[in-house]
Symmetry: C2
Subunit: 453 residues, 2 copies
């Protein structure tokens, strides 16, 4: 876009009448220029931002009969983007913490998934996750799980946006007892939902190069490219996984995937904790997207991804929470804080991963990971109206020197006041507009009562 | 205390009539037995807990005309204890982040302190910190700063509890231009406030063994022992500090302090990031208390304290946030989460520092650091009534498998519903009862307007 003129921003005469106006706050556009607009007014018409600028702009003063979000004493910013989660794992949140990884996974998570996952439980588990995301300012997610049709229904009902991917693994899996069918079931899933909603992109998620055979990986990538959607995968999360790959195939995971033709700009790789210099250079060269998952990597004792090196190499990096069974929340404000602090610790350098870097990862960076950088991730005329406000009238957000520092180092998701996705209000003054939180929590408690027993 | 009988806990006939009753929630007592009481009722008479048990206990059913806190769908637990902060640094929160340590301290913090600290600014800065602590469930703090008289007035007005310590440093300091007077001014401070309130323990805080001469350190310890209050100090926060000590004195900081007679059970040492095996063994042997400050140590790029080794050696460990200029918040729920995750990362072991270990550090561990373990830190008959409730009716706290996991890994301070200190309600249903948050924020904004300009 062309640089903005003072007080005129990108507003022109003849904008369509807004049906929603957000006004009065400090807008952090996350564009290069203007980065901040004080006393901002944003017009939303249908699903898109049709004007953004300072309230003094005469073009923004016209009296329209629009719904108004009062953003005085608030920061207005693009909705946050969670690039890696398994939303329905809310069902298992806090079920099994502080355990050795093998015991956690094989004695707790996998058996619980096998026994308790079904269309209904995944639906309600995802609705609960959607409530949590809305309550903490996340407007878009990249999800991967089983019974993903239920995830689509829940995310659609909540009004959120997402790349929602059917899980593919070469073991008998929840909903897909015969692994021979997993890629075909992925194709059916994409076919079923690809024209369903502008907010939903259906895709597939290969569990990992350790748990999927070469053929499965190749077919999944072919499928993704056929439908022009990104392929998600777990990559080099644990040291064990890397040494298993090396002993089985004689090469580290990134090289293994590259030899299969998977390491390209359509691949979204989550974690990337154990990557050597060559692998970091290779994913940058191939344009593979990387999702940083700092809190899960800490809690699982996996290690620290070399995010600063990846950014320096030009890799596009987003931020993810992982599933709520390994974090244990979906709050991207806390995750930004952890990402910034963890990089400083890893490098023993307080200038590593500045607050603005972390906020970029959770907004325009996250949008770029999903290939949606022209649609979301900034506040700009023409983009989808995925917008949140953060209430500054809280003791811990006072005083305000630098709004980016305040958001990353002091705010939590609980400070989010309003949430708009695709022009529709999902939360206003902390009241949920699309979902009944009591009802969803009651249903999840009923489902998990059996697990607890 | 004797082990509890079922449904009778420690309730006896003839308890004084309660003036406050907290009832209906799941009580996490943080005692050995019973650790949890479902459908709990707690009687508070004056400043103390006079009965605690299950609601079915007949002795708890008597109809008293007491004020009631409805804790249904909540966890009831001891108020959290922040063992290391500089509360009034709320004034500088977010003023200078992501900078090299030297630039942060010498070009930003020290000049701002010199120019803007005075009795009034410290008073309002501390009131703001008190609001934030109340809002996030902290009921007791160990503070160290300048103009500490203003801190005492603010903490007293807020209704919080604290070890509040006048700062001592061998440079011209805010309020103490002549360092020769610093210990004497500490004595006057303790004299002024030692009989003031059962909630306030006045003390002194030596900045560090690098910034205080041997004589100052020795006199400060003598002063603390004369008045039988703990002495606070920063210890081995940065690698630079340790190498400075070694080159100046030929020994590492813990040995240096030990040779001066400071390393004893009256010393509370904050940070302890760079301590070798011998130092860790030595502080355990001497009974010195250690305050873990994980988020500040991450954000400053200082490193990771070896908390598991210290705990294994038997050292009493508490948890602190540091000042809000280096964190940037005072939320101990987030700090517990960070402490647990950081230990797992440091040890590459998901079983390190379990949720319960982190919660102990922030409750009974913190009380023990302050020497107040007979007064606070657990929910027990006879203890001071420092009690908080956490509202479970939030999507991110659902479902509930393990309340300790939920508190440490999923909750933030924003989930705290009610706060009681010394039997007095400071927050009810998230409404502040002792302070006017709008007024305090307005005053702080006025003060910091000058700093921003």
């Amino acid at each position: 876009m062309a640089p903005a003129e003072p007080f005129h921003s990108d507003i022109e005469k003849g904008n369509p009448a807004p049906n929603l106006i957000i006004k009065g706050g400090l807008a952090l556009t996350m564009t290069q220029e203007p980065m901040m607009i004080s006393d901002a007014t944003i017009w939303v018409s249908g699903s898109r931002i049709t004007a953004i600028g300072n309230a003094r702009d005469p073009a923004l003063k016209a009296p329209y009969e629009a719904e108004v979000i009062d953003a005085r004493d608030s920061i207005i910013l693009p909705g946050l983007i969670n690039n890696h989660t398994h939303a329905a794992m809310t069902l298992f949140r806090g079920m099994a913490d502080d355990l050795p990884l093998h015991q956690w996974l094989f004695e707790n998570v996998f058996p619980a998934e096998e026994r308790y996952l079904n269309d209904a439980s995944v639906y309600y588990g995802t609705l609960l996750a959607c409530l949590e995301m809305i309550a903490s300012g996340t407007t878009c997610m990249a999800d991967g799980y089983f019974f993903e049709d239920a995830v689509v229904r829940a995310v659609h009902e909540a009004g959120l946006r997402g790349l929602l991917a059917q899980g593919i693994i070469d073991f008998p899996a929840p909903g897909i007892p015969d692994p021979k069918e997993n890629v075909e079931r992925g194709r059916e899933f994409i076919e079923r939902w690809r024209c369903f909603s502008p907010r939903i992109v259906p895709g597939v998620f290969c569990h990992s190069p350790v748990t999927c055979a070469a053929e499965t990986l190749i077919h999944s990538m072919e499928l993704s490219q056929e439908y022009q959607v990104p392929l998600q995968i777990h990559l080099s999360e644990t040291a064990q996984e890397v040494s298993d790959m090396v002993s089985r195939w004689g090469k580290r995971p990134a090289y293994y995937l590259d030899d299969l033709g998977l390491l390209n700009a359509d691949l979204i790789a989550a974690h990337g904790v154990h990557m050597d210099d060559d692998e970091i250079a290779l994913i940058a060269e191939r344009g593979t997207k990387l999702v940083h998952v700092p809190e899960s990597n800490m809690k699982m004792g996996s290690g620290t991804a070399r995010i600063m090196d990846m950014l320096k190499n030009g890799t596009i990096v987003g931020l993810g929470t992982d599933g709520p069974c390994s974090n244990n929340d979906l709050d991207l404000f806390c995750e930004m804080d952890s990402a910034a602090k963890l990089a400083k610790l890893a490098d023993l350098d307080p200038t590593s991963l500045r607050a603005l870097d972390a906020l970029r990862m959770a907004t325009i960076g996250g949008a770029s990971v999903l290939g949606l950088q022209d649609q979301i991730g900034t506040l700009e005329k023409g983009k989808r109206a995925d917008i949140i406000t953060v209430d500054l009238n809280r003791p811990h957000l006072c005083p305000l020197y630098n709004p980016v520092s305040t958001l990353v180092y002091s705010a939590t998701g609980a400070d989010v006041k309003d949430v708009v996705v695709d022009g529709k209000i999902l939360m206003k003054d902390r009241r949920f507009m699309t979902l009944d939180s009591r009802e969803v929590m009651t249903r999840v408690r009923q489902i998990t009562e059996k697990i607890r027993a």
